[in-house]
Symmetry: C2
Subunit: 162 residues, 2 copies
DNA sequence: TCATAATAGTTTCACTTGTAACTATTTGCA
DNA sequence: TGCAAATAGTTACAAGTGAAACTATTATGA
């Protein structure tokens, strides 16, 4: 593992170490977690991550249009459109009609399968989150949530002026 | 934005809110950050995320084989293979020969363009990270890194026994 | 020593994804 | 009113991705 000795300095080429690079670590963490959760509902229901998110959002906010789902989930417009299409084909989501604007299609989970799916999968996801957070103390959890929020704002600010 | 009033309870249907769901928040944060960084090097060098990671790893650990790069970056074997191929075609990475095992191809950044790319892009990525972390205090930074580590271990443990 | 298993890396194929272009409808304003 | 611009959502195309099959090479052990 130590191919070159301490050729240069006490902390060898320490200016960049991928393992300590925060963006990399966050990506790794996020992928690990998403993988863990999706393996649960993917096996059971054959849902993609986007589909699952749409279900989660519609379960919480019935009647949103596709665009509103997009906004709420910070997802891609096309991705949502496709997810909704597949969910509708499988009878999990239904499209209604908007009174004033015929372009907008309010979406709801279907009373039968859609809502059942929501009520079944959601607890699993929450259980995973709970188990995950069990590795932290209450103060750590609180702190972590706060810091994630701070970083999210900071990242958005950084990306804007670019 | 407030479509339905407080129809149900003081904390309306509070059992699941995507906005507070940690896996979702982390995914959002990671995507925002990755997007910010990649927009920097993508414009300049036309590098994909995987290619950039390979460059970062090889810059830090010259002479790794593709498999070792895969392990170090928690990346897909195929993705690395393709990234290396494109990087080699563009003269950014070179493949050497392994003394004992002709299956293994040690990889290095090319002395000219490859290392120049590394020296040019890396500071930008680090600068982004620095700006991002500037939104936290020193203690918060330390704490955040620690918590990310804890969660990463916890998530791996959770995913294993499954 | 020879056959089988294991490993490094590549290629193929089917599927997913994002960008851009498109249709349908509504809004803004001259 | 009526026409250009904006918006909701879909479609098309190109590029990216992973799983599995494949080649080449090395390790194992009867």
């Amino acid at each position: 593992m130590s191919k070159e000795g301490a050729t240069q300095s006490p902390h060898p080429a320490d200016d960049f170490m991928l393992e300590k690079f925060l963006p990399y670590r966050l990506s790794l963490l996020s992928n690990t977690i998403s993988g863990g959760i999706s393996s649960a509902y993917r096996k059971l229901y054959e849902l993609s991550v986007t589909e699952w998110r749409v279900v989660a959002i519609l379960g919480r906010y019935p009647g949103l249009t596709a665009t509103e789902v997009t906004e709420r989930g910070a997802m891609d417009k096309v991705a949502v459109s496709r997810a909704v299409k597949r969910l509708e084909e499988r009878g999990l989501v239904e499209r209604g009609e908007h009174d004033a604007d015929r372009r907008r299609l309010p979406l709801v989970l279907s009373p039968g399968d859609g809502q059942r799916l929501f009520r079944d999968v959601m607890p699993r996801a929450l259980a995973y989150e709970r188990q995950l957070l069990a590795s932290l103390s209450a103060e750590e959890r609180e702190m972590f949530g706060r810091l994630v929020g701070k970083l999210q704002s900071a990242a958005q600010r950084l990306n804007e002026k670019d």
